[in-house]
């Protein structure tokens, strides 16, 4: 597919993401924050699409926006909103905050100015038709499947987390 | 059964029959004991109804009536006790669980209080109701008039 108005969509999505991110931390109402986060996540998946990574974009939607955020909302809805509205939102540790932000900003600037050698030049893209297959090949393929073991480790870790959550939530089993 | 009651309680229990239906007039003081015996020893395990009748001209204004049924004997009996206005009765909720709402209704309609009832309050009428409508001297108009006076600002709705 020929890309259409790429810069426009990039800036649109990026702006949506940044505004969403700011809203997440500034909204007092937790549900509003969660919705802003969802917006940011969806914009992010749009950017993945623009980067010719449709599989990652799809997973982003189905897992983060559709799955995890629903559970977030699920929990938030059960909290008393009235009480959380009264709680102090920021803990006034300006100094540490500024230092951390400055360090991160410095890192970004450093990468932007001098990091050209760190990244390959130009876009590294697969043809769209085979993109998902390429991801699969990279993960499990017979020749390049070097991530099989780490993938299984990750799933085992998640299984442990699930069992742990059940044990903690259930009073008696 | 009748003979036994007669023997034990003498004039406190007055067993009668009208139109083939047995009932007994029991003295107020014997009520807890008699009901207990009827339930436990005579197997009247089902309390059909509890109700009252108001006789304003009598000294003991109310007749409170328990209608009982025994599954084992397939027999009904009514226990009736005359009480005066303001006099209380022991609650029979511990004996028959069903007495709960029935006693509340008697309280609601007649203003007869039952001691030891778990939650004695009005059941059919709203909580703010004044008076007890099934008493013979209950005026139907007063409530109506009060309502229109408060809510509509007129003297009478009639």
């Amino acid at each position: 597919m020929a890309p259409v108005a790429t810069p426009f969509f990039f800036y649109l999505l990026a702006a949506t993401m940044i505004i969403g991110g700011i809203l997440v931390i500034t909204r007092k109402n937790a549900v509003h924050s969660a919705m802003a986060l969802i917006t940011a996540l969806l914009a992010q998946s749009g950017i993945y699409l623009m980067l010719y990574a449709p599989f990652v974009a799809g997973v982003q939607i189905i897992l983060y926006a559709g799955g995890i955020m629903v559970l977030f909302l699920f929990v938030i809805m059960l909290i008393s909103i009235e009480r959380t509205m009264k709680e102090r939102q920021f803990n006034h540790q300006w100094l540490i905050g500024i230092v951390a932000a400055a360090a991160l900003g410095g890192l970004f600037i450093a990468v932007y100015t001098r990091g050209k050698t760190l990244f390959p030049e130009g876009r590294l893209t697969y043809a769209e038709g085979q993109n998902t297959q390429a991801v699969a090949d990279l993960l499990y393929g017979p020749h390049t499947g070097m991530y099989m073991f780490s993938f299984e480790i990750a799933s085992l870790l998640l299984l442990v987390a699930i069992i742990g959550a059940v044990v903690m939530a259930k009073k008696r089993i | 059964m009748v003979a036994k009651f007669k023997r034990e309680y003498g004039s406190g229990v007055d067993p009668l029959t009208y139109l083939g239906q047995n009932y007994m007039v029991v003295d107020r003081s014997l009520i807890p004991e008699i009901l207990q015996i009827l339930r436990n020893e005579e197997q009247f395990d089902y309390c059909v109804d509890i109700t009252a009748v108001h006789y304003p001209k009598r000294e003991k204004q109310f007749d409170v009536i328990w209608i009982l049924y025994s599954f084992a004997r397939n027999e009904r009996v009514r226990v009736k006790t005359p009480i005066a206005d303001g006099e209380t009765l022991p609650s029979s909720v511990p004996i028959w669980a069903t007495a709960n709402w029935l006693e509340r209704e008697v309280y609601d309609m007649f203003g007869i209080k039952f001691d030891g009832h778990p939650d004695l309050k009005r059941i059919l009428l709203p909580d703010g109701w004044k008076g007890h409508p099934l008493r013979k001297d209950y005026g139907i108009l007063q409530q109506d008039n009060e309502w229109v006076q408060i809510n509509l600002g007129i003297e009478s709705g009639q």
Partner: protein, 387 residues
């Protein structure tokens, strides 16, 4: 969430104890259901205390339909009060009328002639079927099956047509008079009833086809709202609910009134006392009602339809309690006469009112959805609960 089936059904002994410690639980959610709610069958208000979706306890608030029927009775003559009783359980108006007329007849010490008795039984049993049909339709609707409602209403129509032809009214029929009947049965009455019997027999199979072996129906009703026979008796619960809990007691058999002793029929009982058993018991009751109808309609004797009753009814001083097996349970009339033309006191012992008391016990430990099922299975009519 705890599986409600693993919970032992609550009994009256634990009832009071559970009241205190669960109600202090801070996690509970209090929900008000009704009086305007599609599944409370009228204006019943239920205050539910929930832990998640599990019912910790509930309280019924009733009286929204209170019309003071008993007070009205004291201010009307015996004959004038007769139509009022139809307005209590308006789905089973004929049964109400039968109980009242028989109670007054007892007070007068007269008995309706045999022909009147037969027609009374026919109409009452037809009304029992109509009442059970209405129950089935609404109960199934509460559980989410919408189609049975229309089937039962379609068939109930046939009964109402017979009522209409007989006395002109469909719902609040006022079919009986003290001492017998006002109207002779119309031409073709027997044929209509016979037609109905042959029409309705396959219809019951049709209802059962829709529900009895439906997996979802079984899951929604089995083990739901269990109540033991012992608790039923203690709570004064009567009618199909009592029978479904295994107590074989029906006033038509235990203390026969009208001329039920002449008819051959069975009393169905359930084993588990759950919603499914109550469903089955009522289904069998409809079939049994058809059996009674068959016998009655083939045996209507000729003769007068009114006993000798004075124009102005003035029973002697005295009191009488008479009860009949209404579709919902024991419907009793306690009438005190002071010798005047008006009853001194009319007490109605409504089955729905007393049965409703068991709701709390039956719902404990169940889920919200089960409360709906249990309200439906108790088959209450708020007109009768509140009177």
């Amino acid at each position: 969430m705890t599986d409600p089936k693993t919970l032992s059904p609550p009994s009256l002994e634990t009832h009071v104890a559970a009241h205190d410690d669960t109600f202090l639980d801070t996690n509970e959610l209090v929900i008000n259901m009704g009086p305007q709610h599609p599944a409370t069958h009228g204006v019943l208000r239920v205050i539910l205390r929930l832990d998640g979706e599990k019912v910790l306890g509930l309280e019924c608030v009733i009286g929204y339909l209170h019309r003071g029927v008993e007070k009205i009775g004291e201010n009307r003559t015996y004959a004038m009060f007769n139509p009022y009783v139809d307005r209590m359980d308006y789905v089973a108006a004929v049964s109400n009328g039968l109980g009242y007329c028989e109670a007054v007849e007892k007070l007068l010490n007269v008995e309706a002639p045999p022909r009147a008795q037969y027609i009374r039984v026919i109409l009452t049993e037809l009304n029992r079927i109509a009442s059970h049909q209405l129950w089935l339709g609404t109960h199934a609707l509460d559980i989410g099956a919408i189609t049975p409602l229309f089937y039962t209403f379609r068939d109930r129509e046939e009964i109402l047509k017979i009522f209409e032809k007989y006395c002109g009214a469909r719902l609040t029929t006022h079919a009986f008079r003290i001492g017998g009947l006002q109207y002779e049965s119309y031409d073709g009455f027997e044929q209509d009833v016979k037609n109905f019997i042959s029409f309705f027999k396959p219809k019951i199979d049709e209802y059962e086809e829709l529900l009895t072996t439906n997996r979802i129906w079984l899951e929604r009703t089995k083990g739901v709202g269990v109540i033991s026979g012992k608790d039923c008796i203690a709570l004064g619960v009567t009618g199909p609910v009592l029978r479904a809990s295994g107590v074989k007691w029906d006033i038509r058999k235990a203390q026969p009134y009208a001329n039920y002793k002449n008819f051959d029929f069975e009393i169905p009982i359930g084993l588990n006392g759950d919603t499914y058993d109550r469903y089955l018991v009522r289904m069998v009751e409809m079939r049994q009602a058809l059996r009674i109808l068959e016998q009655a309609v083939n045996g209507i004797p000729a003769g007068p339809i009114m006993a000798k009753v004075p124009k102005v009814i003035k029973p002697p001083v005295g009191e009488v309690y008479h009860s009949i097996e209404a579709p919902k349970g024991e419907l009793g009339y306690f009438i005190v006469s002071d010798g005047s033309t008006q009853p001194y006191r009319v007490r109605v012992r409504p089955p729905s009112f007393v049965n409703l008391q068991a709701l709390d016990l039956m719902c404990r430990g169940q889920l919200v959805a089960d409360v709906i099922a249990v309200i439906g299975t108790l088959d209450i009519v708020l007109g009768e609960v509140d009177r």
